[in-house]
Symmetry: C2
């Protein structure tokens, strides 16, 4: 099988490296040798062992009938979308590590592949080296998935782990993460939650079989989380994690990306540093979790190569993926129910008036946490809609609030 790699950056060069290092075992598992025939990049790579495979025009790959599998590792929606679509229409299998492309165009590209009896795969687009796309499609095929919740961003999980362990501030840990290369110079996509938002949109689309638009998902980053919040978390024997979560609600889903306080008993609470994990609840299976490196050159490349092997073995068979272009309407954010942890400078009387006057099914305060930060009190609420919470919170002076997982 002849392979073309589009984009010779971190992931693309990682794919070439994995194919080289594990050549023999990959050949055995694919049933034939996998040879990189072209590498598409705008740049030249003088001195690189693959220098002679570099091409600058994607049509060189498109027009070569020998190329059966194409790897898209360029990132971004365009020109990745144009190139990938053309490759699929020319009958070439495509695998991508590009969450932006999959979140925006997944349903359409899956449909094109299905019509041509080839495959469009994207295991590496969510959770890097963690197998999650393929397990959802094949291992959990007997399940109605009721929840899928992930720690899907390594940068923010590293930062939150440092804050939890060392009590340091958001700003200092961000600078350190940037110095170490874990966070980019412009960290917005990570710290504002845009990256996990696209990933949970992909996972939810696979769970419900319809298109979930990431623009429809309420997304809150970690920029407002402080060392004091972690002091409360410690007092409550919890940690704070940035979760991307979808929970079934009738025929729809409640989707959200936000920091959550998790008790030590939750399987995701122990997922630290740059590790990622995806928690899944099925109606037969109960709780399951997939854990591993969410990013990293070779880890992500390994997932891409697993796709290449699978597509080589299924050269003339479309492995069906249920993800139709029809739009899934998510539960409105204001109607989502959550429990909350709240810090306030208002007196308990005011809190009781706002939250505590439990009559009928009106939500109340579950627990007060005092003495952690001078001049304020913390408290946890029972489950309430976002709208009800906002209404109650307006009546007191809120320092910060974090949802409870």
């Amino acid at each position: 099988m002849k392979v073309a790699v589009m984009g010779y950056g971190t992931i693309g060069s990682g794919v070439v490296e994995v194919l080289e290092v594990n050549k023999d075992l990959i050949t055995a598992r694919a049933g034939e040798p996998l040879e990189v025939k072209y590498i598409l990049d705008l740049r030249d790579f003088p001195g690189d062992p693959y220098e002679d495979r570099i091409v600058h025009d994607y049509r060189t790959i498109l027009q070569d009938k020998e190329v059966g599998v194409v790897v898209e590792a360029m990132g971004g929606v365009e020109p990745a979308y144009t190139f990938v679509k053309a490759m699929l229409e020319a009958g070439k299998h495509v695998t991508t590590s590009n969450k932006n492309l999959v979140a925006a165009k997944g349903a359409e590209l899956i449909k094109i592949a299905r019509e041509r009896n080839i495959n469009f795969m994207f295991e590496a687009s969510v959770g890097g080296g963690i197998p999650i796309i393929r397990p959802l499609n094949t291992c959990l095929s007997a399940e109605r998935i009721d929840e899928i919740t992930g720690i899907l961003n390594g940068t923010t999980n590293y930062m939150l782990t440092r804050m939890a362990n060392e009590g340091v501030s958001f700003d200092s840990v961000l600078k350190d993460a940037q110095a170490k290369g874990y966070a980019e110079a412009d960290p917005t996509a990570d710290i504002e939650g845009y990256d996990p938002c696209r990933k949970i949109a992909i996972l939810t689309s696979l769970v419900c079989g319809k298109q979930v638009d990431y623009e429809d998902i309420y997304t809150e980053g970690i920029t407002k989380i402080t060392a004091e919040d972690f002091a409360y978390a410690k007092a409550m024997d919890c940690s704070i994690k940035l979760l991307a979560s979808s929970k079934r609600a009738g025929e729809s889903f409640r989707c959200m990306v936000a920091p959550f306080m998790l008790s030590k008993n939750h399987p995701l609470c122990g997922v630290n540093d740059v590790f990622n994990a995806v928690f899944v609840k099925g109606n037969m299976l109960g709780d399951a979790m997939f854990y591993g490196s969410g990013a990293g050159k070779l880890q992500t490349a390994s997932a891409v190569v697993a796709d290449i092997v699978d597509m080589t073995k299924h050269a003339h068979v479309n492995i069906r993926i249920e993800w139709e272009p029809e739009n899934m309407e998510l539960v409105d954010y204001t109607e989502s129910t959550n429990r909350f942890f709240v810090r306030t400078t208002s007196p308990i009387d005011a809190v009781e008036t706002a939250f505590g006057v439990a009559s009928g099914d009106m939500p109340g305060v579950v627990e007060y946490i005092e003495g952690v930060v001078a001049g304020e009190i913390g408290f946890t609420t029972s489950a309430m809609t976002e709208a009800d919470f906002a209404k109650a919170a307006e009546q007191i002076s809120v320092v910060n609030r974090v949802r409870l997982g």
Copy 2:
């Protein structure tokens, strides 16, 4: 697709239930309805909704050309082996939840299925509802697996979790586990480690592609673990888990089933109660873990049904599984290296003489833990072979020893 279920016990009836409860979504994913045509059992089930499908002779299934998939949920090697082999030879796909059958006859049954271009699958034989067999075969196909270590027995993990949390004795927690139905009346297969031994033999066979005989794996149960051992574990911020582990050693593997002390940083340390998990280290991927319910009727049945769906989608395609009948010679137990935690009533002088006279590469004591149990001291060793450890341990009076993970 017409399905036959052999064995209408816990798992077999669970398979029928999963097919019933999630009928619509399973039909959509399989691409056609799955109908249970026969249930093979020695007993009758008067009043059961599937009463009319019960048959007592496996040849009824064998001779019915309509039956395309057979579920083996009888347990034990015979007559399961005879029945399964006959079904495969008749061109019927087979999935089994039976670790004893797979550990003993896996390579042969895989070969028969391959020759007939059908499939023999066994996702449910290891880790119940945790997807692990399929991920090893397809998701990690770009990896050289260097380690696979699991908590593969729910009964013993429940017992060890209780002992860790409550400081209770082995005997009392075993009685409680039996009362709750977590442990069988004859708990030998669990507490002596025979069950996880078969499971790690299966996983290691899949990792190395050759036959690993479970009789070749050193197996130590949890019967010697005491409340005092857990007191030391607590002092060392560790827990004790029954691990089934395979680590690559050149072209071979070091395999062992035994209780291990795990530090809180190890992903398996937080796996509690009846949950199971499999930790995998790949040469590209690094660390990954698969977590979930290791047993349970519906969880295990869900994995069986996922196999049925996969086989229905691959009705005329053999999904290649690398597991040849050729025998894999494991590293001799005495040559395996481990670190140890030791409790002794001997004085430190004697310990130093036996373990501590570090000259050249001779192993020594890493740390002493005193004051946990009156009249004894605990210590941890550096890595040494089992043979060297046995030699040194002979020179002192050992109360108990547990390997360090």
